[in-house]
Symmetry: C4
Subunit: 278 residues, 4 copies
């Protein structure tokens, strides 16, 4: 898929996935911080979100593999034609999708079966990102300098995401790590678009793939993408937090009112102490 | 041992070891999760497993060293013949076996003597893997590109296993890490076979050791081995978990029945709460 | 800003910032260790310090960006003049300042809003340092050996600071890590001066940028800067600790005296035990 | 000090230091595991050991610096003779000693003043090892392959020691880490001897510094040194543990006997439980 579309499609998926993760984790964080300490059972709403996410990952990976295999100039599930390998690029992309599919499966299973070890979903996602980076790393040999450089910048986002997700296996429910993961997905998505713009410009002249100035600009541009991703994640999560606080604030008032009638002083005092402690 | 057999034998050992680890750790995990919190003494069955594992490691390492030294074209325990070193390859393999032997010894000792610091067995295993990777790293200089590449992919499995085992020194009884270790051993074993197939093909034409396409295929192939290893570990542990649950489920019903007659309400309530909380 | 001043200005800022951090953290540490365990609310004085620090970071970053853009030979906010990029160096510096500005903003916000996840300020600072190192890393290609070497030594200080700050996200209130961060800022500051002295000597002959002896000296010189930074942080914090202990010692005596009149034995016994335990 | 003696002297120091650390930490570990949980005050004996160790470090570093500066062909505290740097090698060694001196000072201070943050001694030691490795890393450029290789193997021991010591800042009183540190010092010491033997052979022919076989042998030899270091640390600590257990076993019997007369059942039951739990 060496064209603009071939970079825009995965880019869009990663962007969307990053936003979805931001929304999901900020809602979970809100729920965690506003929960009295006794009740720790995940509400069905979050489980359903995880089912949707995992199921979508499995579905998208399956579609991705099929498309990579059976496009017009694809390998059509043939690996070798006797003399040489057939369309290794498409096979490599299929392999990447496979691991994201496994990650989706792990998420569904770990939501469904309580017996599975905690963190197995994060572990599988970290592995999927590692495999993506691992394949890209050997993907980019023997190319012009700017091409190599722009792809190796992608690896920074991929491996940073993989490392932070691996950390989440051991450090659970840390909102910073969760949002950082979302941020890395958004960064990866927007950087895919950038790669598309640089290597296959929609209009205007071609980029000089050997110019040192271009490489310096691209490096800096990566930092701007990072800043934008941070801004997007922060503003999205801020907006959602405020919205949810208002909605549930009203809901809670009602709840408190209801509690008041039955057991007056206790519940309210508990709420006040809670907001104090934080 | 530069032939197919020389790669198949260690490969088989690592494969078997990986499966053994999967079985052992999933049984231990089952036992841990189904234990009431008071009783934390390791049952004799697990101790016996550890003795068997450690003893086998020591034995296999000893046999390995002997074979490497006293095969027909081996060094016969001579290190130098005055002018140059004798069969350094065999000496290096012997050194690797030595450290796995030390690791086996550490496992036996740490099972036998309670005073030894916890984690000393994992530490020794991590060191053995590190030494293996360390020697392999300097092993592969001055070889054709594909040969170097296929061996350096082995290092990924070896060092990943070493790192995760080192982590186990500090994070105890984490089933994810334990199964990951098993997975890395299986990956290492199956990759040894792959190396054998590529460098010493049993039938068909020789591989072109300088072709870029071959290198890209081998990289991707490593990911498939990883996926297969994950599948094998997951399905094996799933199967064992279900089997053990059924068997002990029946056993427990009997146990509960027996407890019921003596102290009726307390024990059962405790069991229900337990399965709820998890 | 390829002149001595261009290295002295950021150097001075980093030196000052390092001293400020030393003073702030040693005061916080004193307050932490001398606090009875019940009261854990940050006093307003420390909040005000954080506001000042964050506000200053934002202000200085803004000024820095403006200066880099609108100096006489700056890019004047133009990125490209059709054919090539305009003054990428200035743009890169602006990008670095931008991330330090974000870090300052994060500090102000996390001090102001209690709901923000703990550690978000350290995370942003770590990111700012990482971006600084990341841009410098690609900054120094195609330069004479000594120039490259002296800049890559700067990276040691930058990345060490970034890593230790990232660690602070998870390990809170560890005075060693906090002072190490301060030390890394001082080292960075003094090393900026050193770079200025070497590349743009104020007097005397130019340095031979290809001499191996010069490179060896510069490496060793970096260690001396490190030793000096350690000495400065240690002596500063020691001095402040002793000063504060004396001042508050008198204050405490009064406090104890006051408590004595009301609840005699309890409070004093608690204080004695406290100083014992440590 | 480019001769055999120049490698044997630091080697002997590191060997001795490694043994000292083994003895010290195994005694501390014995004391920790045999202490009832209430009493956690370090006995004066261990404090005295730390004073001796720190004092010796400071003294040896001072002597080392003096020797490096004022030997016959030393720099005599002159850094530059106008045109070029004077004896940078000796200056680099002096710098290494300086940091070990700082580490000794930190140990003495952290033993003397209870207010210092825990782990400051380990931090300083880790830094000293890092600086040693850092200087060695740039030390070995432009040398024959075997010379470079044998020195870079030394770096493995140095950086592994530095990393594990840094870990000790956060993971306190872990006997495995402490003995690993001792092991790395012994390895470093014995490897200094090996470097001396290879580069300045006392008898027999010179080593061919470009032969690939020699490099492979040296790599393997490093692993044998590691195995020997492990054996030495294990056997030393085992011996000391058994000796101390016997001695204090008799002492304890007496103690128990004395306790028995006063408060019979309680104390003994406590001791039994203790040895059970472990």
């Amino acid at each position: 898929m060496a064209n603009f579309g071939g970079h825009a499609i995965p880019g869009s998926f990663f962007l969307l996935f990053g936003f979805w993760l931001t929304v999901k984790h900020i809602l979970q964080h809100y729920w965690r911080t506003n929960q009295p300490k006794g009740r720790w059972r995940t509400p069905p709403f979050f489980k359903r979100m995880d089912y949707v996410e995992g199921g979508f990952q499995v579905f998208a990976s399956f579609v991705g593999i099929m498309v990579e295999q059976f496009v017009v100039d694809g390998p059509h599930a043939r690996l070798s034609n006797g003399d040489s390998w057939v369309k290794l690029m498409n096979w490599q992309h299929s392999t990447m999708y496979l691991f994201f599919g496994i990650s989706g499966l792990a998420l569904v299973c770990s939501t469904r079966f309580k017996g599975l070890p905690t963190g197995v979903d994060r572990f599988a996602l970290s592995l999927a990102l590692f495999v993506e980076g691992f394949l890209f790393y050997y993907h980019v040999h023997n190319r012009p300098p700017l091409d190599t450089h722009i792809h190796s910048l992608l690896l920074v986002a991929v491996f940073a995401g993989s490392a932070s997700t691996m950390l989440e296996v051991f450090i659970r429910d840390n909102i910073l790590l969760e949002l950082f993961r979302a941020c890395m997905f958004i960064l990866q998505g927007s950087w895919f678009y950038q790669i598309g713009f640089v290597l296959f410009p929609l209009s205007g002249p071609e980029w000089d793939l050997t110019d040192h100035g271009n490489m310096m600009f691209v490096t800096m541009c990566f930092c701007w993408h990072l800043a934008t991703a941070l801004l997007l994640v922060t503003s999205t999560s801020g907006l959602i937090w405020i919205t949810v606080s208002r909605c549930s604030g009203r809901g809670r008032d009602v709840e408190i009112g209801m509690r008041k009638t039955s057991s007056n002083s206790t519940s309210q005092k508990g709420l006040l102490e809670e907001s104090d402690e934080e």
